[in-house]
């Protein structure tokens, strides 16, 4: 399965692609820069009833209503206080019904780096984690390990908008 996602990555960017890296606790994560709409400071959100715990609520982003996801809670990390320096990265997922925007709360944005697809290592099979399929792979940048995320799988399913979400989940469950 991991090889399959790697080949997907190769199709998307034959040689290298740009990745926005950000920090969450002690880890560094990366997402395809083309998916990033903007980076903005934290502001209070409006809660949505019956939403998963890591969907904090919605924000007004220049007139459109955008859900905000707390990645720390999504990854079951220790919760951090939201302060003025907390950052929201607004990204978009592409679904059958069109583009959907959402924001993720992260500790801080680090850098934009070029990643050569040949350097991407498959994520290790951890066995117990069924939801591991949102990892595209690992890449080492300046001695640090960066975890590349598949935003469509990670967020699309949470928002209940990705038709393939459950299908993508099942092979992972099978693999586990």
């Amino acid at each position: 399965m991991a090889t399959q996602t790697t080949s997907e990555q190769q199709q998307r960017a034959p040689d290298s692609s740009q990745v926005l890296t950000f920090v969450l606790g002690n880890e560094t994560y990366g997402v395809d820069i083309l998916r990033v709409q903007e980076i903005r400071g934290w502001s209070a959100v409006t809660k949505i009833p019956h939403a998963p715990a890591h969907v904090l609520g919605v924000l007004n982003l220049r007139g459109s209503i955008v859900p905000i996801v707390d990645l720390r809670m999504r990854f079951a990390l220790e919760r951090a206080e939201y302060t003025a320096v907390t950052v929201i990265i607004v990204m978009s997922v592409v679904t059958a019904s069109g583009r959907r925007d959402f924001g993720v709360v992260v500790d801080g944005v680090s850098d934009v780096v070029d990643v050569n697809s040949a350097e991407i290592k498959p994520a290790p099979e951890l066995g117990t984690r069924a939801a591991i399929d949102y990892l595209l792979g690992l890449v080492s940048i300046a001695e640090r390990m960066v975890v590349l995320l598949d935003i469509d799988r990670l967020i699309g399913r949470d928002l209940g908008v990705l038709p393939g979400g459950t299908e993508a989940g099942s092979p992972a469950a099978d693999a586990a």
Partner: protein, 711 residues
């Protein structure tokens, strides 16, 4: 009920010109010999819409012309006539003539009746020829008709160049409809009034007069050609016929003091005529036109310089509303930008209030000014898109009256929910489908008074149009209390047309589905109202384009009801803001009955059924919003907060909230665009401070609470 229809003329012209462009494009794409049926359908629909619109507004010349055009197109559509180059030419010419007619009506100029009737004649001839012999002649037959027409058009317009110049006579074609007398109009009085304007020459046409034995003295069978000499303003002539408008065919045109008419005296007067255009030699048009009458030869060139300048001159005049079409996205962008500006301004105001120093006062004054301007700007931008549905509804009283009269039916039109506001783009597109539906109701639905009385129903049928906000949607209902849909006839027709197999059996819903197919109609014969089967497929197409759906319910003998449900992509709702803990929610005012503070004695606890309170003699359940939405409230004690009595789906509940904040109009934004549907929430809006508030969907909330109670 009187409605000034003229306010909708601009929209009609705009749409018609656009439709004609589309028709022209489709005609040009049409392959001779092997036409694409979809293209023919497109062309047909354009003709049909223009016919419908012009009939509604009483432009009978256009309606009559498009009817002929439509008949020809119907032949093409059914494959009864091949699409030849000649036919295609004829259709393109019709587009040109329609444009000229529309432009003439728009600028309130007389229609070039000769040119129109010539072309209409060609259309009819083509249809008639086809009916006589489809066989060998098809290739050649329309061609002579065409050359005749191309001769005919310039010939007709050749005597028209004078309209451009200072004509000395008015010629009026006045053909009253039969019921003119019954409407309280008296032609004799009109003629007398005309004669009062100056001289009057009257020629009467008695061709339509039936034999004496058959004459009904209450009906008018005569028509007149009238000539008024002298410098009479057109307005004065039109005024004479003001009251008869819609009850007659009327054409007023300027004519030169024709040598053929034995008006020798006029000829002497007309001698100074060439000098009049000579005074205004600055504009080349009158010059060319002045030269025209003696030299009749270069015919095709003459109509354009003489006929065109006038309408164009009036086009740029203030009479034209000068509207432009703007894409929805641009308006959305504009609205979002203004929303951002309002928030930035609020932030600045806050900062300004804290500033101290010599400049602070001036800063605050400037900010106050900015706030006012911002508010105005925001309101104007909002207004750009939103209009009450009465804009569409108000075309119906006239239409229903006319149709009822023509069909000999008694119909009462009921309009409700006219103030429901909806998106301008939605409004524009909902008009035509509604016209079709109402026509269908009147033509097919409502029975004649005799049949109704026999069935024990009141002689007058009712057509009801209703609009309302429902959940996150706008729903428009068109219902009648007529005979309902005839399922057996629909089935028989569908079998005859080969739409379904002979032995196929269908459920009710599937049968109703059949009437939405292109070209389907159960009408016995084609009237100019409906029955050509264009209506319903256009209706559904338009509704689908708006992302909506159309549903049909029908009961034999009781009538049928069409429900169009449209999504509320962007609509404004009057809302009451309520506070629950740190959150703000918007309750649509339309669902609120009353807001009140409960006394501890008024609250009862039913075992297993939650809390209720007494309200006007009823016990209503209390829905605690904080519990439903998982919010930490300021108070959980029912007598400390407030209860908003709200109604949804015919049921009332008390919504328990911390406090009421204020009423405001809010713009509904979709939550589903980026997130998904939430039970009990119809959307979200952006408050003045830039934060998001959720809008409650009261019926959905009640259902959600039911499910919680059941679980």
């Amino acid at each position: 009920m009187t409605v000034d229809l003229t306010q909708f003329h601009a929209a009609f012209f705009e749409e018609s010109f656009e439709a004609l462009d589309a028709m022209e494009a489709a005609l040009l794409k049409l392959d001779i010999g092997a036409p694409d049926p979809e293209l023919i359908n497109t062309i047909f629909r354009v003709a049909h819409s223009i016919k419908g619109g012009s009939a509604t507004f009483g432009f009978s010349d256009i309606a009559s012309f498009t009817h002929s055009l439509e008949t020809l197109l119907d032949e093409l559509r059914s494959g009864g006539m091949p699409v030849t180059a000649a036919v295609s030419d004829l259709l393109l010419k019709s587009v040109d003539v329609l444009r000229v007619m529309l432009r003439a009506v728009q600028s309130k100029q007389p229609i070039d009746a000769q040119r129109v009737s010539d072309l209409q004649f060609d259309l009819e001839v083509t249809i008639a020829r086809k009916r006589e012999s489809i066989a060998a002649e098809t290739a050649r037959a329309p061609a002579p008709a065409l050359t005749a027409s191309s001769d005919g058009v310039p010939a007709a317009t050749a005597d028209a160049p004078a309209p451009g110049t200072e004509a000395r006579r008015w010629r009026i074609h006045f053909r009253p409809f039969r019921e003119l007398l019954a409407r309280g109009n008296d032609p004799v009085r009109m003629l007398r009034e005309l004669a009062g304007l100056g001289g009057l020459e009257v020629r009467i046409d008695i061709q339509a007069l039936p034999p004496l034995a058959d004459i009904n003295p209450q009906e008018c069978h005569l028509s007149w050609t009238l000539e008024v000499p002298g410098e009479v303003p057109e307005e004065a002539i039109r005024q004479v016929f003001d009251w008869a408008e819609g009850d007659c065919d009327l054409a007023v045109e300027r004519v030169p003091p024709a040598p053929s008419t034995a008006a020798a005296a006029d000829a002497a007067q007309s001698a100074p005529q060439p000098q009049i255009p000579a005074d205004s030699t600055r504009s080349p048009a009158p010059q060319a036109a002045a030269l025209e009458p003696p030299a009749l030869t270069p015919a095709p060139a003459s109509p354009s310089p003489s006929a065109q300048p006038r309408p164009e001159a009036t086009l740029s005049a203030p009479g034209d509303s000068g509207s432009i079409r703007v894409s929805v996205e641009k308006i959305d962008e504009l609205m979002n930008s203004v929303g951002e500006l309002v928030i930035t301004q609020a932030m600045l105001s806050q900062l300004g209030a804290q500033t101290e120093g010599p400049q602070a006062e001036r800063l605050r004054a400037g900010l106050a000014q900015l706030e006012r301007n911002m508010r105005e700007l925001q309101e104007s931008v909002m207004r750009v898109r939103m209009l009450p549905i009465s804009f569409v509804f108000s075309r119906f009283p006239r239409m229903v009256r006319d149709l009822a009269q023509r069909l000999g039916k008694q119909i009462e039109l009921k309009l409700t929910g006219e103030q429901t506001e909806l998106d301008k783009t939605v409004l524009e597109k909902i008009g035509d489908p509604l016209v079709h539906l109402v026509r269908n109701c009147i033509d097919h639905g409502i029975e004649s008074p005799e049949v109704r009385l026999a069935a024990g129903k009141p002689a007058a049928g009712t057509v009801h149009l209703d609009a309302s906000h429902r959940g996150g949607n706008i729903s428009v209902e068109v219902s009648d209390d007529g005979g309902g849909l005839d399922k057996t006839r629909i089935l028989a027709k569908a079998r005859a047309r080969g739409l379904i197999g002979a032995n196929e059996t269908l459920g009710d819903a599937q049968i109703y589905e059949l009437i939405f197919l292109p070209g389907f109609s159960t009408a016995e014969k084609t009237t100019d109202l409906s029955g050509r089967g264009v209506g319903m497929d256009v209706v559904r197409r338009n509704v689908k384009e708006l992302g909506g759906k159309i549903e049909l319910a029908s009961e034999p003998g009781r009538g049928s009801r069409f429900t169009i449900t449209l999504p509320l992509t962007l609509a404004i709702v009057d809302g009451q803001s309520v506070a629950v803990g740190s959150e703000t929610y918007i309750v649509p005012l339309i669902s609120i009955v009353e807001s009140m503070q409960l006394k501890p004695t008024g609250i009862n606890r039913l075992s297993g059924r939650g809390e209720v309170f007494s309200f006007r003699g009823d016990y209503l359940p209390i829905l605690r919003l904080h519990a439903l939405f998982g919010v930490e409230p300021h108070t959980r004690a029912l007598d400390e907060g407030l209860v908003v009595v709200a109604e949804g789906d015919g049921r009332r509940v008390g919504l328990f909230v911390d406090d009421l904040l204020g009423q405001q109009q809010v713009v509904i934004k979709s939550l589903e665009a980026n997130y998904g549907h939430i039970d009990g929430i119809s959307g979200a809006t952006i408050l003045g401070d830039g934060s998001v508030a959720l809008i409650l969907d009261v019926p959905g909330l009640i259902r959600a609470a039911d499910m919680r109670a059941a679980a």
